[in-house]
Structures are given as structure tokens and as C-alpha cells.
């Protein structure tokens, strides 16, 4: 067998591969196999770290339940949206933000400090696959948070929706959480592990507050409303509420969310290049 210690030097019997003409199909397979392998590994690793998941998922749910006790039953937001619906959607948005920032920011930052990320850099796994996998893995944590908050909303939050509406809302909230996932990965790239926790916690509440998750934007003073309109969570919630109200979804919300994804992706690429030039990473 090849495994015997005394095997003769079989230096690269596999090098002949370089002489073969690869078909386009082969090339794609070659590129995608590492990505799929790493995705599977990362998602598996994330879904098994139950302590992390319990905290990440549990925190927004408990937060929501605390808010439910508020005496706001009959209140209406923006003239049309019942408070209880606004609250659930906001808490979904908050939960998605928390999950994405924790999964990307805190964990990635620690992983990079441990030298494992650097070890992966010297395997054939392309850098973009690494980043893409981290974003995908974060999205996998975001989904159960959204579903769980919705379940609490249906069970205790007095939110009644049809099955398709629930499904549509879930998908919309999930898709519009992509900017948070990319933001989390960017923070993981940017900050040292000691700084990750305060940065993530700070961002969570700053984005949450100014994004109008704890108090509707329409009830903010004018200057704060201007800031709120720059926050990704505001646009996510606006899209979700519009969809529930059967309004047309304003393209500007989508554009701003897509802008966040694009700018943050560029920022990650920039950080990666800068590290390469300095020879760290």
C-alpha cells in the first residue's frame, strides 16, 4: 500500500495533472470543491457550538419577551402598523444583527488571532472562498434567530399572519440580513479579539437604536431621523413592514442595503490587500 513507511519516493505521481487539459467543468469543480468543503465544515462547526448559539439566539428572544411586557397593546406606528407587528419585525432585525455580528465579528476575530486563518491561507482555498464561507455561515445562524423571534411573536406577541405571509416575511428578513453578515465578517477582519466584544456590543446597540428598532424612527427628532435613514436596520424593517402592508417595496431600501454589502465587501478586500502588503494575515 501507499501507506507503508518504506514506500519509494512517489514524488508527485499526481503532477501529471498539470499536463492534462482541464475541461471547463473540471476547472469549476476544482474551484468549488474547496468552497463547498469549507462551507460544510464551518456551518457544522457553528451549529455544534451550542453555547455560542444559545447566547446568540437566546439574547434577542429574551430581549423581545421583555419588550412584550410593555403596555403598548393598542398603539399604532406610522399611522398604519400595529405596535405588536412593528415590535416583532424590529426584534427579528435586532436578532439578525446580533447573530451576524457575533458569528462574524467575535468568532472570526478570535480565529484569525489563533493562526488557523493564516494556515488556511497557505492551502489552495482561495481567499474569496474563505470570506464567502464566513458570510454564508453567519447567514445560517441568522435564520433560526428570525424564525424563533417570529415564533415568539405568533405565540405571545399577538401577531397573526397567514402561512405564506410568514414564509415571505421570513425570507425577506433573512435576505435583507446579508449586510449584517458582511459587516460581521468585516469587523472580524478589522479588530483584535480583545476589542471584538466591545465593538460588536457597541455596534449592536448603536445600529439598533439609530435604526429605529427600540423606538420607531417616525417618533425620533428630525436630526436623528436623518441618521436613521442611513442605518441598514431601518431599511430592513421598512421593507418588511411594507411587505406586510402589501405596499410596493421601495427600490431605495434595496439599493441602500445592497450598497452596504458592496462597500463592506470592498472594505474586506482592502483589508486583505493591506495585510498582504505588510506580510501579516
Amino acid at each position: 500500500m501507499m501507506d507503508s513507511p518504506g514506500a519509494p519516493p512517489t514524488l508527485s505521481n499526481h503532477r501529471s495533472i498539470h499536463g492534462e487539459a482541464d475541461t471547463p467543468h473540471d476547472r469549476w469543480r476544482t474551484r468549488l470543491t474547496p468552497l463547498l468543503a469549507f462551507c460544510q465544515f464551518e456551518v457544522g462547526r457553528l451549529l455544534r457550538s451550542w453555547k455560542f448559539l444559545a447566547i446568540t439566539i437566546g439574547f434577542p428572544v429574551i430581549f423581545y419577551i421583555l419588550f412584550l411586557g410593555d403596555h403598548t397593546a393598542g398603539k399604532v406606528v406610522d399611522g398604519t402598523v400595529p405596535w405588536r407587528v412593528y415590535l416583532m419585525v424590529s426584534m427579528c432585525s435586532f436578532g439578525a444583527l446580533v447573530a451576524a455580528l457575533n458569528a462574524g465579528g467575535t468568532r472570526l476575530s478570535m480565529e484569525r488571532a489563533s493562526g488557523w486563518a493564516r494556515q488556511l491561507r497557505v492551502t489552495p482555498l482561495p481567499a474569496w472562498s474563505y470570506v464567502a464561507t464566513k458570510v454564508i455561515a453567519s447567514m445560517f445562524v441568522v435564520l433560526p434567530v428570525i424564525i424563533l423571534v417570529e415564533a415568539v411573536g405568533a405565540g405571545f406577541g399577538d401577531v397573526r399572519l397567514g402561512a405564506t405571509t410568514w414564509a415571505g416575511l421570513t425570507l425577506l428578513l433573512w435576505a435583507t440580513s446579508l449586510p449584517f453578515a458582511v459587516l460581521g465578517v468585516f469587523i472580524g477582519f478589522l479588530v483584535a479579539p480583545e476589542a471584538a466584544f466591545p465593538v460588536v456590543t457597541g455596534l449592536m446597540f448603536i445600529l439598533g437604536y439609530f435604526g429605529g428598532l427600540f423606538n420607531p424612527v417616525s417618533e425620533m427628532p428630525g436630526s436623528l431621523q436623518f441618521i436613521a435613514h442611513l442605518m441598514p436596520n431601518y431599511h430592513q424593517v421598512a421593507l418588511a413592514l411594507a411587505s406586510l402592508d402589501n405596499q410596493t417595496l421601495t427600490p431605495s431600501h434595496w439599493l441602500i442595503l445592497a450598497g452596504y454589502v458592496a462597500v463592506l465587501a470592498l472594505a474586506i478586500a482592502w483589508k486583505h490587500r493591506a495585510e498582504e502588503a505588510r506580510g501579516v494575515a
Partner: protein
């Protein structure tokens, strides 16, 4: 002396016939104003086991980072298995074990076998799992979680990861720095065996003994330059010079120069000072010839001290001016002479 210039023990082919595994041509890299690689030239042949020896800050890690495409040097050209370092990495033709800094360099929260099978799947033509397990001696660790390994165990797993892709070349940056003596010996064996299969191994170390024990060739780096280059035994001989001092009533210079191992003799009245590459042999010879010496004193150049001397110990004067003499006298082969 002839043994000092012997070819590496496992040379399977004439060196000229062996392909070049990697090369540096005039490579310069600075971190700010500090120079890390100073017009470095280096050529390593396929199948060589090469130790990159030098004090901290000599440029060892920078050299390895550059070989892996983790950093692009500002000037010069590097080739690894005939291509750009990054291409070589992307093609899965190299493996590496880097310094992990504060962490263990392994993914937390998974078992060793899971980490290994992930890394294998990143390569097009990985080595069979059983082969990796045997080469890196990780059979008993497969079911353990990576965050529960001891330092030595973690290094073995990291070695397994480095060789998982069945690479032609493997780079190791101070792989044994955190190990106890016993694990270190085992690790040396693993590296050596891997090199014996005709693969190229380049490892950085600041332990002279480590360099000597496992490599075919030692390249001493200081201030980003090659200050010595040759088989380990030669280098060791070069730095193992001892100085013997004693008193004889009537020193006979020609006879003293003829003693075993002697490289230099100086006589001052009845006092004699001899530099020897092999102090034991010199003394045996003295006794054998019936020379009546007294007040014998042997000083010198322990390996570490000699190594410090060789690399100039960071003084203002780079080692260049210090080095050539002892090295040349001991027969270390210069790059060009290979």
C-alpha cells in the same frame, strides 16, 4: 577534512541533475525602515532538507512568508516549483506549518480528524489519510478535540495538516519552538523521514543542534542575508573551533602546526595558542608525540557562542566581514561552488 565537504547523505542524484525546488533572486523586503531581506539570493534543489538558521529578526519568517505568497517582497523574484509562490500554493504543491503566535493554529471546537479531512478536501490530490496519520504520528489523536491537545500534540497535528495535500515542498517556521526535548526528537525524525522521500523540506530554526541533526544543508541568515551556507557538519566544525593554550619550554612551530585538527598556531615565548577544529584529537596527538605541555586551558567557541560570532550578534558591523574567514577555512561550500 574530506568528510566536511561530503555531499548530503541522501543525495540520490548528482546535484546538477536535480531540479531547482525554489529560488530567490535579489529579493529585498523592508518593514518600514527595517530591512528584513537584503538582496537575498538562494537556490534550493529538489529533495534537499534545508535548515534556515539565524537569530530572531534575521529574516527567517519573512523568507517563509514570501515563499508562501503571504507577502510580496518589494524587490526581486521568487520561484517555487517553477512558478509564482501563490500559484504554487493554489496548485496545492506546497505545504506549510507557520508560527501560530498566541494560538494553536487549529480550528477550535472540532476533532482532529475533522480538521484533517477538511484540509484534505481543499487539495485536488491529497495524501491518503492513513499515510498522513502515520507520517505525523497522529493516530491516537484523531478523535480528540483540537482545543484539548498538548503543545507537542498540536504541533504534530499541524504537521499533519502541512503534509495533507501531499506537497512537493514543505515549509516549517520554527516547528519545535514550543516542544519539550522528547517531542522535539520525534518531530525531527518525522521531518527527516519526509525529506528522505525525495521531497524538499525547508525549516527555520534558531537551534543549531536542530539544524545540524536533520538537515542536509544549513543556510545561516542574518540581517536578511545569507552569511553561511553548507552541510551542517561543516558549519558545526566551522563554529566548533576551540582555542588551546598551554606552555612548553621550547615550542616547535612546525611540529605544532602538524598536529591533528590544528588550523592556526601562535607562539609567544613559551606560551602557545592553537586553534583546533577537533580539540580532542589535537590533545591526543600532543600526548602521543610526547610533548611536555603544562597549564593547558581550552576555551572557546561553544556552538552557541560561535553561532553568535558567526551572525555578528546584531552589532553595528554586519556579519559579512566576520564570517568568510572561519567559514572558508572550514570548507563550507559557497553557494556558487555547489
Amino acid at each position: 577534512m574530506s568528510s566536511l565537504v561530503a555531499a548530503p547523505p541522501d543525495a540520490t542524484a548528482p546535484e546538477s541533475a536535480r531540479p531547482i525546488a525554489l529560488s530567490f533572486q535579489d529579493v529585498t523586503h523592508r518593514y518600514g525602515s527595517r530591512i528584513a531581506l537584503d538582496r537575498l539570493d538562494l537556490e534550493v534543489l529538489q529533495g534537499e532538507v534545508l535548515a534556515l538558521l539565524g537569530p530572531n529578526g534575521a529574516g527567517k519568517s519573512t523568507t517563509i512568508s514570501a515563499l508562501l505568497g503571504l507577502l510580496r517582497p518589494q524587490e526581486g523574484r521568487i520561484e517555487v516549483v517553477g512558478s509564482d509562490p501563490r500559484q504554487a500554493v493554489a496548485d496545492g504543491r506546497v505545504g506549510a506549518m507557520l508560527q501560530s503566535g498566541s494560538g494553536i493554529g487549529l480550528p477550535p471546537g472540532v476533532r482532529v480528524d475533522e480538521a484533517l479531512s477538511l484540509v484534505r478536501r481543499l487539495y485536488r490530490r491529497p495524501a491518503p489519510l492513513a499515510q498522513i496519520v502515520e507520517r505525523a504520528d497522529v493516530g491516537s489523536l484523531l478523535r480528540q478535540r483540537t482545543d484539548r491537545l498538548s503543545g507537542g500534540q498540536a504541533q504534530r497535528v499541524r504537521f499533519a495538516i502541512a503534509i495533507a495535500g501531499d506537497p512537493e515542498i514543505v515549509f516549517l517556521d520554527e516547528p519545535t519552538s514550543a516542544m519539550d526535548v522528547e517531542s522535539r526528537q520525534g518531530f525531527w525524525r518525522m521531518m527527516r523521514n519526509f525529506g528522505n522521500e525525495g521531497r524538499t523540506v525547508l525549516f527555520a530554526t534558531h537551534h543549531l543542534a536542530e539544524a545540524d541533526e536533520i538537515s542536509d544543508r544549513v543556510v545561516v541568515l542574518n540581517h536578511g542575508r545569507v552569511v553561511a551556507d553548507g552541510p551542517g557538519a561543516t558549519l558545526k566544525a566551522a563554529v566548533a573551533t576551540r582555542r588551546l593554550r598551554f606552555v612548553i619550554d621550547q615550542p616547535d612551530r612546525p611540529e605544532l602546526s602538524d598536529l591533528d585538527g590544528v588550523t592556526e598556531v601562535s607562539v609567544c615565548g613559551t606560551g602557545v595558542s592553537i586553534d583546533s577544529l577537533d580539540a580532542d584529537a589535537t590533545i591526543r596527538d600532543l600526548v602521543g608525540r610526547g610533548v611536555q605541555f603544562r597549564d593547558l586551558e581550552i576555551t572557546g567557541a561553544g556552538l552557541e557562542q560561535a553561532f553568535v560570532a558567526l551572525t555578528g550578534s546584531g552589532g553595528a558591523d554586519p556579519a559579512r566581514t566576520v564570517t568568510p574567514t572561519p567559514i572558508a577555512s572550514a570548507g563550507v561550500v559557497a553557494r556558487d561552488g555547489r
